[in-house]
């Protein structure tokens, strides 16, 4: 294989990596802002599955892509709403509630999906998610086809990441949110409505997770399959740590992990002596390495929100 052919093959790999990373990106963004509010929601997998099945079912029965997307967002938010009620209002253990949400979400998706097995997304819905080459940007050599020749949800992912980055780091409300994640007692004393902030961000985070799931069932596959997320929700939980709760880094992290997920498939073309089973492990190994690295480095920026996982009791302040 000559150099030009290799570069062309590499570009195809990177294009596929962006696509494979998109569901991870939505889920990672959703979980990042959830955790920024101080709540650790381990139900990402469950919310993704709820979004995936709701989006698919609505897309199938209405043929309307917008309705399908809205259904997916609402389903994810519904799952997150249960979590928020349990952990914010009732102050239940966040880890247990999140794990239950994962089990609940896959149960409900399996139940609704019983009759959907093998069904395919209707053409009217598909037509919304065809590849669109962006003018100008899409013409950049090499970079253009990799990043700017995708479906509308991939672009939505870019915008969501940038939007959330600006929100978190450059707006007053974003600052408030971060302060609640660090020290809800102080934020409360400063007059912030801690409960409202937590609810709002957990719900929006859940909606994004639902959208990530729907990307799989409506765009990427697009056919229904039991347990369609196949563990991607857990990768997203790891990605949040990998990208240090930062939406900008989430873009990079999601595509790197998406790439790692399919790297083995593209390397099998070549006769190299690397076990595919080792390659399958890579995303998890990388996460552990990052965990170790960030805990050694002790930089303030890369630390998790200080009050993450702790229920907030006003009376304990």
């Amino acid at each position: 294989m000559d150099f030009a052919a290799f570069m062309a093959y590499a570009a195809l790999f990177l294009t596929a990596a962006v696509k494979a990373g998109t569901p991870l990106l939505f889920a990672t963004l959703g979980e990042s802002i959830t955790e920024r509010s101080g709540n650790l929601n381990l139900g990402v997998e469950g919310m993704m599955l709820m979004g995936a099945v709701a989006g698919f079912q609505v897309g199938l029965s209405t043929g309307n892509p917008l309705a399908a997307i809205i259904a997916a967002l609402l389903a994810g938010a519904l799952g997150a709403g249960i979590f928020a009620f349990l952990t914010v209002t009732l102050r239940a253990n966040q880890v247990v509630s999140g794990l239950s949400l994962t089990i609940f979400g896959s149960g409900i998706a399996g139940f609704i999906g019983q009759k959907l097995g093998g069904q395919v997304v209707p053409a009217t819905v598909k037509s919304w998610f065809v590849q669109i080459k962006l003018p100008l940007l899409g013409d950049i050599p090499y970079i253009g086809p990799i990043f700017f020749k995708h479906d509308i949800l991939v672009y939505t992912g870019y915008l969501a990441a940038i939007g959330l980055g600006i929100y978190l780091f450059h707006t007053r409300k974003g600052l408030n949110l971060r302060s609640i994640g660090e020290n809800p007692g102080a934020a409360d004393a400063a007059g912030l409505n801690v409960t409202l902030y937590k609810y709002a961000h957990i719900l929006v985070g859940g909606a994004l997770c639902g959208l990530g799931g729907a990307y799989l069932s409506l765009v990427h596959v697009p056919a229904w399959q039991e347990n369609i997320t196949a563990g991607r929700g857990w990768i997203a939980v790891a990605l949040v740590i990998f990208t240090t709760w930062n939406p900008y880094k989430a873009v990079l992290g999601a595509y790197v992990f998406g790439g790692l997920d399919i790297l083995g498939l593209y390397l099998q073309k070549f006769d190299i002596k690397v076990s595919q089973y080792l390659l399958d492990m890579l995303p998890y190994v990388v996460t552990i390495l990052v965990l170790v690295a960030t805990s050694i480095k002790k930089s303030k920026e890369n630390k998790p929100p200080k009050a993450l996982g702790e229920p907030y009791f006003r009376e304990d302040r």
Partner: protein, 365 residues
């Protein structure tokens, strides 16, 4: 305190919602035989499990026996629980339909001598336990003929689950079929390392299409490789079931299972008191599997060619793994005049690819 109780109750409710997934259905009673099935996937998976479920429904219709099933049962020791539940519910004939159920089925067979057990795709038997499977390499070979005639780029992709004899022999049989009509074509293999992750299986198919393949075959349980082929204007072969609705512009045919007649035969013999533990390996001749009807997408000349070989298979005068056969390095694995037996095709020595396959099998025993 009340809040804590409510929280606890909600959490427990959410956890129990999982129980929704393990469905069960019962037909009409009236006969003293009650048949239980253990499935690895959901009944509507559009593939392996659905093919077995179709067989179950056929059995129910034909013999009017009561049936029950447990779906999405994990392999290994956990499957014993599902078998126990079926026995407790009164089942006296049990079919377990995945390779990993083999040892649990054997254990349960020893504990329950009055129940008849059937295990699919394994190799162990007992006094009250049979095993059954099919010569899938026969329809695989036929589907290879269709692919070999269709390809223009002479590169055919094959999305494969795991490096086990069943899959490897399928790839080899497929490649032999391809090369019988198109000696210049190669078969490129991508291991997905999953049976049922439709996104990953699609990624594998896309990787093959990116590598220049224009026909995609698969040994995975979802239809997403076929959808990937359609999106790129390429062509595809299914597996397990006729799946033409998933990707009508790409789908040509599929090697398919047809368990119904076997289930009816076996249960009938039990009703007549003629059960005898056996190892059953039916092929196209016995009707347990076949090649699905070719669609209009398939090349015109394929039909006659497939029919010609299929006829020989039905007559029993055709061996897929007939010597001389060389592996990828050119070493003769099956000499002239010899052919592989069923046990050799599905045994652990099936760890090599025939010439014409591009891919590798990681060392495993």
């Amino acid at each position: 305190m009340t809040k804590k109780v409510i929280a606890l109750v909600l959490v427990v409710m959410m956890a129990f919602s999982l129980a929704l997934m393990t469905g069960c259905s019962a037909g009409t009673s009236g006969s003293k035989v009650k048949v239980g099935f253990v499935f690895i996937g959901p009944v509507k998976d559009g593939g392996w499990t659905e093919a077995h479920a179709n067989g179950m429904n056929y059995l129910k219709e034909q013999l009017k026996v009561e049936t029950m099933h447990r779906e999405m049962v994990p392999e290994g020791p956990e499957s014993k629980k599902a078998i126990k539940e079926l026995i407790n519910a009164g089942c006296n004939v049990i079919f377990t339909t995945s390779f990993g159920y083999m040892d649990p089925t054997l254990e349960m067979a020893k504990e329950n001598p009055n129940v008849k057990f059937y295990h699919c795709s394994g190799f162990k038997t007992a006094d009250n336990m049979s095993n059954y499977f099919g010569r899938m390499h026969e329809p695989r070979y036929l589907s290879g003929i269709v692919a070999g005639l269709k390809t223009k780029s002479n590169k055919i992709g094959y999305v494969a689950a795991y490096e086990i004899p069943e899959v490897i022999s399928g790839i080899n049989a497929f490649t032999l079929g391809v090369q019988s009509v198109n000696p210049n074509a190669v078969v490129k293999v991508r291991w997905s390392h999953t049976w049922i992750d439709s996104a990953k299986e699609k990624d594998a198919a896309v990787a093959l299409l990116d590598d220049g393949c224009d026909v995609i075959s698969q040994h995975n349980d979802s239809t997403s490789p076929q959808i990937a082929a359609q999106e790129r204007g390429a062509f595809a072969l299914g597996y397990n079931l006729d799946s033409r609705n998933a990707a009508p512009k790409a789908y040509m045919t599929a090697p398919i299972w047809n368990w119904g007649p076997y289930y009816v035969n076996e249960v009938k013999s039990i009703m007549e008191g003629k059960f005898k533990a056996s190892a059953y390996h039916g092929g196209i001749k016995e009707g347990i599997l076949d090649l699905a009807p070719l669609t209009d997408v398939a090349p015109a000349e394929a039909k006659a060619k497939v029919e010609e070989v299929r006829k020989k298979m039905v007559e029993g005068s055709f061996e897929v793994f007939k010597g001389p056969l060389q592996d990828q390095t050119g070493t003769v694995k099956v000499p002239e005049g010899k052919f592989l037996t069923y046990e050799e095709i599905f045994g652990t020595d099936m760890n090599w690819f025939v010439k014409g396959v591009e891919g590798k099998i990681e060392a495993q025993k």
